[in-house]
């Protein structure tokens, strides 16, 4: 087996209108078992995937947004959200789901998974990835 690779999941599409966001999340959850170095990127309309207050009752689809909160339990805790994408949509960090993880090396302290970064910083993260999944 090769050494650990840097996997980046790029999320650029809004949920519900198409299935990409849901099926992308399914890959992330399965992929977590493979112990690679995993990061998630949310940019463009992808930021809509992790907004608070989603209620799909009246469209008859499953609300999968609570699943993002479980990512921390799968050791998926590098979640990068692009500032420019939030700004363009009139959103702030307060509009996003609180995503956290527990650091076992720090007495299980609860820490934030989301890092809001600039497009230039996002470009660097993409550049440093070995495998880029986009759906």
């Amino acid at each position: 087996m090769p050494e650990t690779k840097k996997f980046l999941y790029v999320n650029r599409k809004a949920p519900y209108g198409t299935i990409y966001a849901l099926e992308s999340l399914e890959v992330v959850l399965i992929g977590a078992a493979f112990e690679q170095d995993v990061s998630l990127a949310f940019l463009d309309d992808g930021v809509y995937q992790i907004t608070k207050g989603q209620n799909t009752k009246d469209i008859g689809m499953k609300n999968f947004s609570p699943t993002y909160k479980a990512l921390g339990d799968y050791d998926v805790n590098k979640i990068y959200v692009e500032q420019e994408s939030l700004d363009a949509r009139g959103l702030t960090l307060d509009d996003l789901l609180p995503l956290t993880w527990e650091d076992e090396d720090d007495d299980w302290a609860e820490k934030e998974s989301i890092k809001v970064i600039s497009a230039a910083e996002m470009a660097k993260i993409m550049e440093q990835s070995d495998v880029v999944f986009s759906f």
Binding site: M1, P2, K5, F7, I19, Y20, E23, E26, V27, I30, G31, A33, F34, Q36, V131, F133, S134, F135
Partner: protein
């Protein structure tokens, strides 16, 4: 060099499967190796043997089957995506209580782990989608 390919759209509606085919064929002809072709989302619809396109059109499904035979390609349909969209082999049909299967020759159904493994084992992974 060892490639893997992910295809996220079905045949005909999007050009994704055509481009993926032309890319894969060129890669193989140039002497590269193909570790796996993974079909996800509507891409699993590339694996039904029940498609009957007009005579004067390309047969996208048969084309994949033929390429798989020639180069011993591993064509994998994601099981979760295939179940949602009604693509089944004999085992899947039986498991889900269906009275027919429709998987095309050269394809197999397996889990998402196969995609992750392709990412780990291949030198390059490239995605074709919408």
């Amino acid at each position: 060099m060892k490639f893997s390919v992910m295809i996220s759209e079905g045949p005909y509606t999007h050009q994704a499967s055509d481009t993926a085919y032309n890319f894969t064929k060129a890669a193989l002809e140039d002497g590269h190796e193909c570790f796996r072709i993974f079909f996800y989302h509507d891409g699993v619809n590339n694996g039904t043997r029940l498609a009957s396109p007009p005579q004067d059109d390309r047969n996208i499904i048969n084309r994949w089957s033929a390429l798989a035979k020639e180069y011993k390609l591993d064509l994998v349909l994601c099981v979760a995506a295939a179940q949602r969209r009604g693509i089944a082999d004999a085992d899947e049909a039986k498991r889900n209580g269906k009275n027919a299967d429709n998987i095309a020759s050269g394809f197999r159904i397996s889990g998402l782990g196969q995609l992750i493994e392709a990412g780990i084992q291949s030198d390059r992974l490239i995605t074709f989608g919408d």
